[in-house]
Symmetry: C2
Subunit: 183 residues, 2 copies
DNA sequence: AAGAGGCTATCTATCAATCAGTAGACAAGA
DNA sequence: TCTTGTCTACTGATTGATAGATAGCCTCTT
């Protein structure tokens, strides 16, 4: 049950791909097994239940996402905002994928409790990071509460923006949505 | 196969409820049958396949949603915008439900083709309605393109806002997201 | 009026496929 | 020998869907 082994990584990769395109309830252990080239029983060795797999994927995704962003205090606020929006844009442009936690957050009521908590944690971590960036922006000079609200609105715009973009005109739609958020 | 009969309506009500809370792939004919008080075979009489049921629900939802909004030219632009945002807010506040097509839009890649098309149609109809309202706003004086972009951004904010609100602090979060969209 | 036929809407019973999950054998490597 | 990781083989439950019986009701014909 070593979740950093090569096989475990491949399983998580496949699961993450399915969740971000179809949703948590639209993939099976069979799908994963076929992709990785193993039997379904082997998946259970690494991740005892589907909920465990979902939780591991959510945790890894959040960690990787935050690591890629880097510390909120790094570079200029404007740079950091661009980097943030680009994290979403790239997923859409290169792989036509949703944000993992945007998808899980929508499916909320049909998920195991631990997955729900990890999805929520992604949102709160993102909001903290964004709020710190907005507070550092010298042009804006925001109060703490205003920075929080601005973060909330940006995150909502991006999560909803991914849904709309995938259903309408893809990256073109996404770019129309995000073009003027940097003032 | 009369989809306006009392039973068909109850089936659609139940299906809509499940889709808007759990998603399309997280409910079964058994769930519906239990709610309505019939057998699963009876559902197939009214809606031959799950895709047919999903499509009927999406069509009814869009129709009802647009009817409740009324014509884009009615009342003041500001009134209409408030009414629009309130349509989303009410669903969240009273029943903790997503927008049907926000949910379907997220699950895009795991849905039957006709359901995808109807979900997309909901978005385009909403965007047309919003654009017409924004263009009528005398304070804003927007170009057609700017009105379209503003519509896109509002819809994305609301769809993403529902996801975040359900995962964070409910209506409180939603109100923080929408408080200043009326300038 | 009586009854035959057809339509509507439900039921029982069942299907093959798929689901997540388990038990236990087996092989390779330490 | 013990651990790690995979396999075969299986389970019981659930999935969407089908076949066919049945009952109630309406209409047309005799």
């Amino acid at each position: 049950m070593n979740n950093t082994s090569e096989t475990a990584t491949k399983i998580m990769d496949a699961a993450e791909g399915y969740i971000r395109t179809r949703g948590y309830n639209a993939f099976s252990f069979r799908d994963i097994a076929a992709d990785v080239g193993i039997k379904t029983a082997s998946i259970h060795y690494h991740f005892p239940t589907k909920g465990d797999l979902g939780a591991a994927v959510a945790e890894r995704y959040t960690e990787r996402f935050m690591t890629n962003l880097g510390p909120a205090g790094e570079g200029s606020a404007s740079q950091q905002l661009h980097r943030y929006v680009d994290a979403f844009r790239t997923a859409l442009a290169l792989e036509d994928k949703m944000c993992l936690c945007g998808m899980l957050g929508a499916e909320l009521s049909s998920l195991p409790e631990n997955v729900v908590q990890l999805s929520r944690a992604f949102f709160t971590k993102n909001l903290s990071w964004l709020t710190a960036v907005f507070l550092r922006d010298e042009k804006l000079r925001l109060t703490s509460i205003d920075a929080q609200r601005k973060s909330l609105k940006l995150l909502a715009l991006l999560e909803g923006g991914l849904i709309l973009s995938r259903n309408l005109e893809g990256v073109k739609t996404f770019d129309q949505l995000t073009e003027d958020i940097f003032e």
